[in-house]
């Protein structure tokens, strides 16, 4: 039973929310919650902020320059390993979005096809470790795979035909886009080829706020959940809100991406609330990171997240 918070206090509170990247389809639910007034009804004035790079949100959050940040499960674990006192208070996207994408007749149809190929990566160490795990599972020699760090230029690298595949692009963003543009992409999702599943996007808060600003977090997450429910019920309106706030986004493309992403905005288990973290999944993924020497300290995955503030949880 969910208890109603007292109606929005007279004074709206401002929440600086640093996104993980430029606004895109992954943030459709956030913009829907803003546009349909869910946040303001909850007494929140949410301001999405674009970061300078995908690792900046956690840094700004840790420095107190933002109230909440969108980040990635592996990033949060890395930051905690380095001593950051940050906690995921909700999962924005339940599943990995990271994938291996290849094109046309040179497509890599299954992990085994990577042997002897050139793979462009975003240069993020834990993603490089995915390749190792994938190679092991597929039984191929990792040293035969040439890795090239292409930074943010994953798709251009693919289109330039200088690499056979890229690891790090999202199946719901670049994958959908390539599909729409008839580039005939072949997509291998991380959790389908041996990498333990994880929450690709999470909502992160400071530990101290978890203790002292619980009600605010709860109101935020409830409004966000409503935004996503609205999105599920009527994707068109949500996409409109996203594009209204970001006129340089293409409506058709965003609609297609939102449609593709819809299933992973919510837990597979219908009984679980929006934003739910699966304890086992987090544990398994943390173990995998430790096994791959990405983390230096023994780390409790339990304390990296909390479901306490999700609608219907905790209290």
């Amino acid at each position: 039973g969910e208890r109603e918070e007292p109606a929005a206090s007279a004074r709206t509170e401002r929440v600086d929310l640093v996104l993980d990247y430029f606004p895109n389809a992954d943030h459709a639910g956030i913009y829907a919650a803003i546009g349909t007034g869910e946040f303001s009804r909850a007494g929140l004035d949410v301001r999405p902020r674009t970061p300078s790079d995908p690792s900046a949100p956690l840094k700004l959050l840790a420095s107190g320059r933002a109230d909440l940040a969108i980040s990635y499960e592996p990033e949060l674990l890395l930051a905690r390993d380095k001593g950051a006192r940050l906690v995921s208070v909700g999962a924005l996207v339940q599943k990995p979005l990271t994938s291996i994408i290849s094109l046309g007749e040179r497509a890599v149809r299954e992990p085994g096809g990577l042997e002897g190929k050139t793979v462009g990566t975003a240069g993020i160490p834990y993603q490089d470790a995915y390749l190792k795990t994938i190679a092991e599972k597929a039984g191929i020699d990792l040293s035969s795979v040439r890795k090239i760090d292409v930074g943010f230029n994953l798709v251009p690298a693919l289109l330039s035909k200088r690499v056979d595949a890229v690891l790090g692009a999202f199946w719901n963003v670049e994958g959908v886009e390539l599909e729409r543009r008839n580039r005939d992409p072949r997509i291998l999702r991380m959790d389908e080829i041996g990498v333990p599943t994880y929450n690709e996007l999470i909502i992160v808060a400071r530990e101290q706020d978890v203790r002292s600003r619980g009600p605010l977090l709860r109101r935020f997450l409830r409004a966000l959940a409503r935004g996503h429910e609205g999105l599920r019920a009527d994707p068109g309106t949500a996409v409109d809100e996203l594009v209204k706030a970001n006129p340089d986004l293409e409506r058709g493309l965003q609609a297609a991406q939102v449609k593709a992403t819809l299933p992973v905005f919510f837990p597979a288990d219908r009984d679980r609330p929006f934003g739910f973290h699966d304890r086992e999944d987090w544990r398994a993924y943390t173990r995998w990171m430790r096994d791959n020497e990405l983390l230096e300290n023994p780390l409790s995955s339990e304390r990296a997240f909390t479901n306490e503030f999700l609608p219907g949880e905790g209290i």
Binding site: F22, N24, R47, T50, S52, V155, S160, N246, P247, E250
Partner: protein, 264 residues
Amino acid sequence: MATLTMISLLIVAGLIGAWELYTHVGGVDEFLLPAPSAVAEALVEDRGLLWENFVVTAGEIGLGIGVAVALALACAVALHFSADLRRALYPLLVGSQTIPIPIVAPLLVAWLGFGLAPKLAIVALVCFFPIVVPTIDALARVDADLRKLMRSFGASRWQTFRLVEAPAALPGLFTGAKLSVAFATFAAILAEQSGSENGLGHLVAQAIPQFETARAYAAVLILSAFAVALFGLLALAERRLAPWHRPGGVLAVGERRLPVDPHR
């Protein structure tokens, strides 16, 4: 004059034609290199979007250059006056120029927030140095005999600066300002790509992953034109304010003489 403009237009037309041809037969994906025709189309279709964002970026560039010129002048003068300062700070200045944007961008946000300020800071940081160096060099290259002369007239260090050194270094300042105009555009795009809600740099950053490469090129084209216009304006201002350094050039206007090849 007319024929020159023709030549220059012909060259540009030739380049554009070659580019168009290459996009069709060169085997490069259109999302890597759009055809000029596609860019032109984007220019027309997205004109509203481009204009709105251009206004934002142009503001950042203008303000950024203003800040950079003011700081650079103050700094150049200070370093010119004090050899101690010069020795102590010049290396730091040079070093500061090498700081990569991805490192400073989050810091600037932490200090200055998410608004215009961090963008201004980045533009000013990039533009500052190319003004300081030519200005300091120009100040240092002032004829030492003129300094002696002023000293014999009882001029103070500051008077010598104001009456002799500053005007003599004006061409150096203009060289620096012209450089910084070109760099400001570059810097504004970088700054907007490291976190922003609007501006042409933001547009470029958003356009590329959306495969709207033609739009990104259109944005760059607009900024290039803007930079060229600013550069041209500065060159004009230079000719009006500091014409004396080309006695064979501008001042000979109207006087028939054999060509002595000064730049106009």
